[in-house]
């Protein structure tokens, strides 16, 4: 773990471009200066955080609601549950391809067909709403995960406690906010923690669907570093981006720990 990290740190202070081997040597902070003056970098930083925030919000809110729904008994509940959690097991590459080609394709996609059949113009999702499209795909992948965790938590809720609240005249909504939600706080912490780890480094979904575009509309930090290293072959610049990504990860981790991990008794 340490060796690649140190090598990344080392490369980030070097001029190291695979296309231009002559310009080698110590670069000082040039790679970093170049990076922070690049508008693409700030856009990618913003995109990373937007992606993280929106997917977290969607999956936690809907995950909680669905957990309460799938806690109710109804015929065929177990099968319905299996269907809902299925997307979590699908490879990110495959889900991106399926959404891109079979769902959101403006001509052949199912969504385009539905739009046309009610008389609307088919939407070219990845050209018109690239960020929204990526958020939809990611939420589809991670909602089942949130549901899975939160459902377990809801099931462990003490039914006598809820019964008592009902006797005291608490309606379903009051019960939800005063009993269910506080009970779920630890499970929500777990969901936020794990999703953050994976959402900060989202790559396959963006690579397959939009390749960071159009322009830099969906370039996140992971994709920016990829583009620097393997499209422009600028190892030094990419390494500087990697170091900044580590810093960002640690900042996020720090806040997560302060607000969340305390509840996890780490």
């Amino acid at each position: 773990m340490i060796v690649p990290l140190v090598m990344t740190l080392w490369f980030s202070f070097q001029y190291y471009n695979l296309l231009n081997p002559e310009a080698a040597g110590f670069a000082g902070l040039d790679n970093y200066r170049f990076l922070v003056t690049d508008p693409d970098f700030w856009a990618s930083l913003a995109n990373t955080l937007i992606l993280l925030g929106s997917v977290l919000l969607i999956t936690v809110v809907f995950g909680t609601l669905l957990a309460v729904l799938y806690d109710q008994p109804f015929p065929g509940r177990n099968i319905a549950r299996l269907l809902v959690i299925a997307p979590f097991f699908v490879m990110p590459t495959v889900s991106a391809l399926v959404w891109k080609n079979l769902m959101m394709h403006p001509i052949y996609g199912v969504l385009g067909y539905l739009a046309r059949s009610v008389g609307l113009e088919a939407v070219d999702w990845f050209a018109e709403y690239p960020m929204v499209s990526v958020i939809i795909i990611l939420s589809w992948e991670w909602l089942p995960f949130a549901l899975l965790i939160l459902l377990t938590a809801v099931q462990s809720l003490d039914h006598e406690q809820r019964e008592a609240a009902r006797m005291d005249g608490a309606g379903p909504i009051a019960q939800f906010f005063h009993i269910t939600l506080p009970h779920l706080s630890r499970a929500i912490s777990v969901v936020v923690m794990i999703e953050t780890i994976f959402l900060l480094t989202v790559f396959a979904e963006i690579f397959v669907t939009t390749a960071g575009g159009p322009g830099n509309a969906t370039t996140n930090l992971a994709f920016l570093i990829y583009a620097r290293a393997l499209i422009q072959f600028d190892v030094g610049g990419a390494s500087a981006g990697g170091v900044i990504a580590i810093l960002l990860a640690n900042i996020v981790a720090f806040f997560l720990v302060r607000t969340i991990a305390r509840r996890l008794e780490v």
Partner: protein
């Protein structure tokens, strides 16, 4: 009575409606894989058609599915075993012989998971090239093991932490060495937790696409590479793409469904009982 019946009907409808909505993309993928290429791009999309295995035959003739599937199984299991092998002693030490820096070390390890893998791609690639590990299963197993190590350590740590120290203490009194303690006391007692940690690691390895695409080409390539070979040059052959996706996803999906109860116990870190 009537109102409770209506509520029940509403819940059933909502429950099944959302389930079908969430599953629809997967359902549609499987459906498309049984169509001819022509039917796959027909507008309006066809729900009823004569199924054909054409695409599956074509996919198999272009790339040997079984060899990719074997690689996927080998590297997922290998990576998981490797991670557990290192994580168990590490988590044991952190849980039962903690120092003042234990908490910091754990969190630092987790934060490395937030680093985009591309950040270390070039160094790893160069290291692998010098060590002759490119396109080998061993190389991929090493990467997968290391990749999941932080999460595996953290999960094991929380399970071990729940074990009362007294039991280990008693074992030590009876003369158990550190290894005996772990092997005869700790592991049997925390087996459900260790199992679900392993399950999660297996699923993550199976679905990993970045390292497998960059570090393997043919000999050690798992199913993620198999999918990539059907996507890039010919994105418009929907039926073949769907067939390839279906066979790549099916094993882990079935596995996930079978193990979901066990899995969730680990994911909640025993925090939710």
């Amino acid at each position: 009575m009537r109102s409770s019946l209506t509520t029940k009907l509403l819940i059933t409808l909502l429950g099944w409606g959302i389930a079908c909505l969430m599953f629809f993309p997967i359902f549609w993928m499987v459906l498309t894989s049984f169509k001819t290429e022509g039917a796959a791009i027909a507008t309006p999309p066809q729900l009823f058609f004569t199924p054909t295995l054409e695409s599956y035959v074509e996919v198999q003739s272009r790339a040997d599915y079984l060899s990719f599937a074997f690689n996927s199984v080998a590297v997922s299991v290998g990576g998981t075993v490797l991670a557990l092998l290192f994580a168990i002693p590490a988590a044991y030490a952190m849980a039962f012989h903690p120092s003042t820096r234990t908490r910091g070390t754990l969190l630092w390890m987790l934060s490395t998971k937030m680093l985009p893998p591309v950040g270390v791609l070039v160094p790893i690639y160069l290291l692998f090239r010098s060590a002759g590990l490119l396109d080998t299963r061993i190389g991929l197993i090493l990467i997968y093991g290391l990749m999941n190590l932080p999460i595996v350590v953290w999960m094991l740590f929380t399970f071990f932490k729940e074990m009362p120290n007294d039991i280990l203490e008693a074992g030590r009194m009876d003369g158990a060495r550190a290894w005996g303690e772990v092997w005869y006391l700790l592991l049997p007692l925390t087996l459900p937790g260790v199992a679900s940690t392993g399950l999660l690691s297996l699923i993550l390895c199976w679905n990993e696409a970045f390292w497998s695409l960059n570090l393997t080409s043919s000999a050690a390539a798992p199913l993620t590479t198999f999918i990539a070979s059907f996507s890039s040059p010919e994105g418009l052959f929907f039926a073949k793409l769907s067939a390839a996706s279906t066979v790549a996803v099916a094993p882990i999906l079935v596995f996930g469904w079978l193990s979901q109860r066990q899995l969730v116990r680990g994911l909640t870190f025993g925090a939710v009982k």
